[in-house]
Symmetry: C2
Subunit: 433 residues, 2 copies
C-alpha cells in the first residue's frame, strides 16, 4: 500500500491531536484513502514532555527546517501559529515543493494572498479547513459545495471563547471577568485572551470566508472589528426582554457591489438558530442564491475537532497525490485570474437597526432632546424604554431604532453624549434579523 | 477553455433547476472550475412545455437513450426518479462509460450496491449529493470531511413534507389532513404523499447515510420504518408540556457492533437544535469520534436547492475529468474491499425511553394494573399524567418510561390493550435526548 509521508511542525494541543488521530485511525483512514498516512518527523521546541504518543523519539526534532527539508516528506502540517516563524516555514516548504496543511488563520488572513501566489508557482497544494471554525467543513462547503451559487451573505459565531463568555453571562448572570476566568480554567481561552475577546481572531476567519465566498483577495485590514469587552449584563437582560440574544458575529454581506465585513456584538432574534448555539460551539450561516440559507454547527476549537479538520485536509491532499490531481480546487474558490475586484464597504455606510442605551438623568425633557438629535440625523426611533437600575444620578434609557446609517448614528451619539443630562458613553449594539 | 459536455435525463422541477443554474451561472462556474459546463442534450417525455430555458429546442429529445449513447457527452444527470426506467438508464450509462450525477435516493438505496460495483468495473464516477437532504452537503461531509472519524451515531430530519406537516400541527393546531393539504398546495408534498408521510423516503436516505457513515453495504430492507400518520394534536401538546418536540427522525446508531437503523416520530427536547428546524427545512446531526456533534441545516428539497447539489456534483466530476483523477473518493466512503460486515440491530433489541398514551376508563385500579404489567416486563415508569380531554368513556393517561427494550414495551402494550378498562390502541412515541 502506498504511504503518504507527513511532517508536523508544532506539537501543541492541535499537533498532538493530529498525531494521535493519525495513530489511532490508521486502519480507518487507509480503508477510505487506500494509502497510509505516516508521520515521518515532528518538530517542536519541547520534545521532552510525554504527550502519550507512540511515535518513536528519533522522529522528534527541535529543528523545524530539518522537517521541511526532508526529501522524503510529501506534506507539511504547520501548527506553529503566529505570523513570523510560521511564515518562514511556510515559504520554505513552498520553495521545497511541499504541500501544506495549516490551522493558522492569522497567517492566512494576513499573508494568504502572497503565499497562495507563491504556492501556485510551485504547484503546491495548501489546505486550511482547520483555520476557520474547527471541525465545521465551511471551507470545503464554500470552495466546493456552493460552486453554483452567488453568495449573498454569510455570518458566523467563529470564536468559542467569546461565545462561551456571552453564554455564561446570559445564562448564569456571571460578570465578564468571571466568565473569562472560567473560560481560561476550562482551557478555551488563552492566558492572553486579547485576540479572542477583542474580535481579532474572528476577523481573521471572516477575511478568509469573505475571500472564498465573494472571490475577492483576502482583505483583513478593512474589516471593522469590535470585541465583547463592553457588553454588560444589563444589556444582555434588556436584549432578552426585547426577544434578542447577543452574539459576537462575523458578518460578510454583499451590498451594492461592495462587501460589508464587520465583527461586532450583535443582537439576533432568540428564534434564530444562532441563538441556540451556546458555550464554545461555533456556527456559520451562508445564504446562497440557489441554496437559500445553510447552517453548519459544531466545535470550533479543541484538540480533536481541530485535528479532525487537519486530517481531512491531509486525506484530501493525499488523494490529489495518489491521483496526480494537484491544485484540483483553487485555493480561494476562484481561479486566481478570475477573482473579483471587490472592496469592503466603509463602516460609515453600513446600515442596520440599533440598540442604544444611555445613562440619563431622570428629568423632564431628556427624551425630547435625544429624539430631537436622532431626528436631525434622520434616525427613526422604533421604541423607547426607561429601565429600572442605574444609580442616584441616572437611569438606563434604551432605544431601538429603525434601519439607520452607521455614520449618522455615530454622529448622533457624539452629540447626545455631549449633553449634560447624559452620563458617560452610550452602549450601542447592532441588530440583525 | 475546456468544455464538459452534459446530458440531462428528466426535465421536471429539479431538471429545469439544473438547466437554469448552469445557464445563469455559466461565468461563475467557469471562474471556479476553469471549464464550461455545456448541456448538450436533455431528454423528457414532455419537450413542448415552455420552462423558460434558453436552451435551443434541437437539444431536446424524448429519447433518453439518444442522450446516454451520445459519444460527445461526458456526464449524464439522471433526474427521472423511480427505480425502473431510471435503473435501465443508469446501467446503460455505466456500460457506455459515462459518469453519472443523480438525485435518485430510491434507486441508490435499493440498487446502489449493484450499481456501484458495475460503475467501479467501468471506472465511472457516480455522485449523489442531491439524493439526501437537498443542498445540505452531508454526502461530501461523510465521504471527505469525517475521514478521520469513527461515527458513533447520526440522526436527521430528512423529509420536508413530514417536517412541514408536523410544524403546522404544532404551531397552528392544524389537523393532519389540513396540514397535508397545505403541504400539497405549497408544492412540498406529492399528489400521492405515501412515500413521504409513511417514512419510506426518509428510510431511503438513512440507508445511504448509514452506508457512508459505517462503511456497510447499503441496507434498506432491514430499516424499521414508521410514518407520521398516527401523530395527533393531543400527543404534540402533551409532548410540549413535557418539554419535547415531535419530529420524524432517521436514526443510525452504532450499538454493540450492530447498527440501529430506524425511522419514526421521535420526541426530542425543545432545547435541542433539531427542535428549531421547522417547516420544510432539513437537518442532519453526526457524532464523530474526533469532531463530537456536527449539525448541518438547510433546504432538503425544492428546485434550486436540489439543483445546487447536482451542480456541485457536476463540478466535482468535472474536476476529476480535467485532472484525470476519476474515482478519487470511494462511492461509499470506504474502498469496496475494505467495507465492514455490519448488520442492522433487530428493532426488538433497540432500547430507548418511551412516551405512551392510553385511553383509559377513569376508574380506581387502572393505574395499578397498567403499572403492574409494565413491571412484569421490567419497564420502569418515570412519570404518569392523567390528562384532560377524552370522551364520556375514557381519559388520556400518559406515561413516560425509563430506558426500556422495544420488545418489552411492545409485549406490555399488547397485554395492556387487552384490558377491558383500556379503549383502542395505545399511542407510542420514542424519546431521544
Amino acid at each position: 500500500m502506498k504511504t503518504i509521508k507527513i511532517g508536523i511542525l508544532g506539537l501543541g494541543t492541535v499537533g498532538t491531536g493530529v498525531a494521535r488521530l493519525i495513530e489511532e485511525q490508521r486502519d480507518l483512514i487507509s480503508a477510505k484513502l487506500g494509502a497510509e498516512l505516516d508521520i515521518v518527523k515532528i518538530a517542536d521546541l519541547d520534545i521532552e514532555t510525554d504527550r502519550g504518543l507512540t511515535i518513536s523519539s528519533d522522529r522528534l526534532t527541535t529543528d523545524a527546517y530539518s522537517v521541511i527539508d526532508d526529501p522524503e516528506i510529501d506534506i507539511i502540517v504547520e501548527l506553529i501559529g503566529g505570523e513570523t516563524f510560521a511564515k518562514e516555514c511556510f515559504e520554505r516548504a513552498i520553495a521545497q515543493g511541499k504541500h501544506i496543511v495549516t490551522a493558522n488563520k492569522a497567517l492566512i488572513a494576513s499573508h494568504g494572498n502572497d503565499l497562495f501566489e507563491k504556492a501556485a508557482e510551485k504547484g503546491v497544494d495548501i489546505a486550511f479547513e482547520a483555520s476557520v471554525a474547527g471541525c465545521i467543513p465551511i471551507i470545503k462547503t464554500m470552495r466546493e459545495t456552493l460552486a453554483g451559487n452567488t453568495i449573498h451573505n454569510l455570518a458566523g459565531i467563529l470564536n468559542g471563547t467569546c461565545n462561551y463568555i456571552l453564554t455564561k453571562i446570559t445564562t448564569e448572570g456571571a460578570s465578564f471577568e468571571d466568565a473569562l476566568a472560567q473560560a481560561q480554567e476550562s482551557g478555551f481561552a488563552e492566558a492572553d485572551p486579547t485576540l479572542d475577546i477583542e474580535g481579532f481572531d474572528t476577523a481573521h476567519k471572516l477575511a478568509i470566508l469573505n475571500s472564498l465566498a465573494y472571490g475577492m483577495k483576502i482583505n483583513l485590514d478593512d474589516i471593522y472589528v469590535e470585541g465583547i469587552t463592553q457588553i454588560t449584563l444589563d444589556d444582555i437582560r434588556f436584549a432578552d426582554e426585547f426577544g434578542y440574544s447577543i452574539k459576537l458575529l462575523a458578518i460578510g454581506k454583499m451590498t451594492n457591489g461592495a462587501v460589508e465585513a464587520r465583527v461586532h456584538p450583535t443582537m439576533i432574534p432568540k428564534t434564530h438558530l444562532f441563538a441556540s448555539v451556546n458555550n464554545s460551539v461555533n456556527a456559520v450561516g451562508v445564504h446562497g442564491s440557489a441554496t437559500g440559507d445553510i447552517f453548519l454547527v459544531g466545535h470550533g476549537a479543541g484538540m480533536l475537532p481541530t485535528a479532525s479538520a487537519v486530517v481531512s485536509d491531509l486525506v484530501d491532499i493525499s488523494r490529489n497525490l495518489i491521483s496526480g490531481s494537484g491544485q484540483r480546487v483553487p485555493y480561494l474558490s476562484f481561479l486566481s485570474h478570475r477573482m473579483n475586484e471587490l472592496s469592503i464597504l466603509p463602516m460609515d455606510e453600513v446600515t442596520c437597526r440599533y440598540y442604544v442605551r444611555f445613562m440619563a438623568m431622570d428629568k423632564p425633557g431628556v427624551l425630547s432632546r435625544i429624539s430631537g438629535i436622532f431626528g436631525e440625523y434622520n434616525i427613526s426611533i422604533r421604541s423607547v424604554h426607561q429601565k429600572d437600575g442605574g444609580d442616584e444620578c441616572c437611569v438606563p434609557l434604551v432605544m431601538l431604532t429603525s434601519i439607520a446609517r452607521e455614520k449618522d448614528i455615530q454622529q448622533a451619539l457624539i452629540d447626545i453624549e455631549a449633553m449634560q443630562l447624559i452620563k458617560g458613553k452610550a452602549a450601542l449594539i447592532r441588530i440583525e434579523e
